[in-house]
């Protein structure tokens, strides 16, 4: 995990573009069944805490279950693609929803309003057991991660067009942009629901960290343009602008645009055309004054 991951395990440009537009990417059943079977015992026993920003090596030393999880090639590749090598561990948590337990949370963004536009944290969510609709997996709203809101300021948004409820097979790992709007749902099943979460902080500039071999694939632009129910009217173009800004950060390409919105804004020519050089035009007149 702390060494560089083989290129073949990194995310592709199309997958990164999906992350930029949706605010998440899902790796279904990437954790082997044998590990999923051990996970519950490990989570029930508890995973030690540590200070914010602890290096990964210290938080999860080799030999621990979590380190084994993070060293799985697909998981390590996704982490390196999103936040780079040697990330720091912000915090972790095991969330358990008991059978027929809990109330639906109000919709929220985690932590506190995050002002960064040139970096982001990623949250890993690992589900060691199948998550069914009845178990009330996390509801999230794709595409909301770039909207600056504070915590549960969005608490009165109960439903948004395009929202999704996580339903996944055991061994699924989801990666979420820190800003995505979401909420835990009530567990209406007879089975407890387990989720293990780790928040990663980058320690390098998040520039071209993934496998960029497919950077010119037309599917990249298609992913970046992904529409959602709630972006169907006035908010849609603003979302495209913000995704284009993030893609500029990630690729280093300051001329990238999804539509023409950012490009048009930069059209501020300074060259004075020859026909406009008559300095006598309106040059030395002050305002007339009251009753002048």
């Amino acid at each position: 995990m702390t060494g560089l991951v083989d290129r073949e395990h990194l995310l592709s440009s199309v997958e990164m573009a999906h992350f930029v537009s949706h605010g998440s990417i899902l790796l279904e059943s990437v954790v082997p069944e044998a590990m999923n079977a051990r996970a519950i015992e490990v989570f029930d026993a508890g995973i030690p805490g540590y200070p914010y920003g602890t290096p990964l090596d210290e938080a999860f030393p080799v030999g621990t279950f979590v380190r084994e999880l993070l060293d799985l090639p697909a998981v390590a590749g996704a982490v390196q693609s999103l936040v780079g090598p040697n990330p720091r561990i912000d915090h972790h948590a095991v969330h358990v929803r008991p059978p027929h337990g809990g109330e639906a949370q109000n919709m929220h963004g985690d932590a506190i309003l995050d002002t960064r536009t040139d970096a982001f944290d990623v949250q890993l969510m690992y589900y060691p057991k199948d998550v069914t609709l009845e178990q009330g997996g996390t509801l999230s709203v794709p595409g909301t991660h770039l909207r600056k809101i504070n915590q549960t300021g969005i608490g009165r948004y109960q439903n948004l067009a395009g929202q999704t409820r996580l339903v996944c097979p055991a061994g699924t790992v989801a990666f979420l942009h820190h800003g995505i709007w979401h909420g835990g749902r009530r567990n209406d099943s007879d089975q407890p629901r387990y989720m293990f979460k780790i928040r990663f902080n980058p320690t390098v500039r998040q520039l071209r960290l993934w496998n960029t071999d497919d950077i010119d694939d037309p599917q990249v632009l298609q992913e970046l343009r992904a529409p959602f129910g709630w972006t169907s009217a006035n908010e849609g173009r603003l979302e495209l602008v913000n995704r284009a800004k993030l893609w500029r950060v990630l690729t280093g390409d300051q001329e990238f645009d999804i539509d023409y919105y950012l490009t048009r804004e930069q059209l501020r020519p300074q060259f004075v055309a020859p026909g406009a050089t008559d300095v006598r035009l309106g040059s030395n007149r002050s305002a007339g004054g009251w009753n002048y």
């Binding site: 509801l139 439903n159 929202q163 709630w230 009217a233």
Partner: protein, 110 residues
Amino acid sequence: MTTTTTSVEAAFAAQPAQPNLRQQLLILYLGTSALDSNVIGWTRYDGTGRSRPTMGDSDEPPYATGLDALLDGWRLIQLSQLQPHQPGHEYDVSYLPYEFVFERLVDISA
């Protein structure tokens, strides 16, 4: 003229004019500031206590547009102001801007 006052608690404990009525609220988030634009988000609160709407309780909006809610008898009691874009932050995105709050009064004795 002398005015006799009572405690705030006593005044506010008085029976309402129509004690059998409760408020139901419907909050619609629309695609634009026009009431007849499409619903992109929706929320309900039930003052009757007979239901408990929560986050993620439905994937289809109760109405296609805000106007459809009016046609079905909901009364619009508030709509969001149109805020100018802050210079330098015109492209910034945050809370949903077009919020419409509706109510209807329901007879709980029925």
